[in-house]
């Protein structure tokens, strides 16, 4: 918290809004589903990192806490993305809508 000013928080918030706007814009121009999946997941991970690092002050915690929380979060995010790569295979197996 030491080095974070209210201005930094506002900038982080602004970035979160901009990244969300990009995601929504990609939906608006109807990017193909596979591209859409990869790009929104990528952008969402960036947003999650911004929230954890600045809003949840993880950047300013002791290394031991960071090393406990971050790998667990990485595993959790990997867990729920587990089946999506199979979706790409599914495209070639059937008419996938």
């Amino acid at each position: 918290m030491e080095n974070v000013t209210r201005r930094t928080y506002s900038m982080v918030w602004l970035w979160l809004i901009v990244l969300t706007a990009i995601e929504v814009f990609l939906g608006y121009i109807h990017v193909p589903l596979a591209m859409m999946l990869v790009s929104v997941i990528g952008l969402s991970i960036v947003k999650a990192v911004l929230i954890m690092v600045y809003f949840m002050h993880l950047k300013f915690e002791r290394l031991s806490l960071i090393l406990t929380i971050v790998p667990a979060m990485v595993v959790c995010i990997s867990l729920f993305l587990l089946f999506f790569p199979d979706g790409f295979r599914a495209f070639s197996l059937k008419a996938f809508r």
């Binding site: 918290m1 209210r6 928080y9 506002s10 918030w13 979160l16 809004i17 969300t20 995601e23 929504v24 990609l26 939906g27 608006y28 109807h30 589903l33 859409m36 999946l37 929104v40 997941i41 952008l43 969402s44 947003k47 999650a48 929230i51 954890m52 600045y54 809003f55 949840m56 002050h57 915690e61 002791r62 290394l63 031991s64 806490l65 406990t68 929380i69 667990a72 979060m73 959790c76 995010i77 867990l79 729920f80 993305l81 587990l82 089946f83 999506f84 199979d86 979706g87 599914a90 059937k94 809508r97």
Partner: protein, 205 residues
């Protein structure tokens, strides 16, 4: 290396350098993210295993509506860090005001979300059936995943609003308590950062 060990792993009474309450909240956040992770994994599985998946959300008004909801939640995270910053500098009155702003934004999210639910239910979406217009072979599991994931998230937002209200009302709440309620609130925001694209943006008509 040795210095890293002694500064960061020196253990003693407080190996993580934070109070037991804050560590408890972090551990809760880890277990809760696994709960949401499991639900989102089920969603991925069901969606990929289904022959067809409904894409009911029109860009206007559905996606615009849920984008406004996302905006409410993101803004509530900003007001929450402002509350924590005010509490850090000992300005209690300011802290209470920021927390109230956070609660208003959180409640706005819940109200908007319920309006959206009401529209979908009026269209004929049920936990185990989808409206016939959404496609002849559209998986009926759309409703189950939608209501389970967004419902559990909405429950988290509601309990967060109550939790923040209690924190703001308690005269004896310390700075650490405010910070911990902030951690919970940001986590709820964090979950939505994944729910919004996966549930809404991947199902645009």
């Amino acid at each position: 290396m040795n210095q890293t060990l002694t500064t960061n792993w020196s253990g003693g009474v407080s190996p993580f350098g934070i109070g037991h309450k804050k560590l408890g909240m972090w551990l809760f956040i880890l277990s809760d993210s696994l709960t949401f992770g499991a639900l989102l994994m089920c969603y991925g599985y069901v969606r990929i295993a289904s022959e067809a998946w409904a894409k009911p959300f029109t860009f206007s008004p559905s996606i615009i509506f849920s984008t406004v909801m996302t905006f409410c939640l993101l803004t509530s995270s900003l007001t929450m860090v402002m509350a924590v910053a005010a509490s850090a500098s000992g300005e209690r009155a300011k802290m209470v005001k920021w927390i109230l702003a956070t609660m208003v934004a959180g409640l706005a999210f819940v109200v908007l979300h319920l309006i959206e639910w009401q529209h979908l239910i009026a269209e004929g979406l049920r936990p185990f059936s989808v409206p016939a217009e959404w496609g002849a072979n559209a998986s009926p599991m759309f409703g189950a995943t939608f209501f389970a994931i967004t419902g559990l998230h909405m429950l988290h937002v509601l309990s967060g609003v109550i939790y923040l209200g209690v924190t703001a009302a308690r005269k004896r709440a310390t700075h650490e308590d405010v910070e911990i309620s902030g951690l919970y609130w940001h986590f709820v925001d964090l979950v939505w950062m994944f729910v919004f694209p996966l549930i809404y943006l991947l199902s645009i008509k």
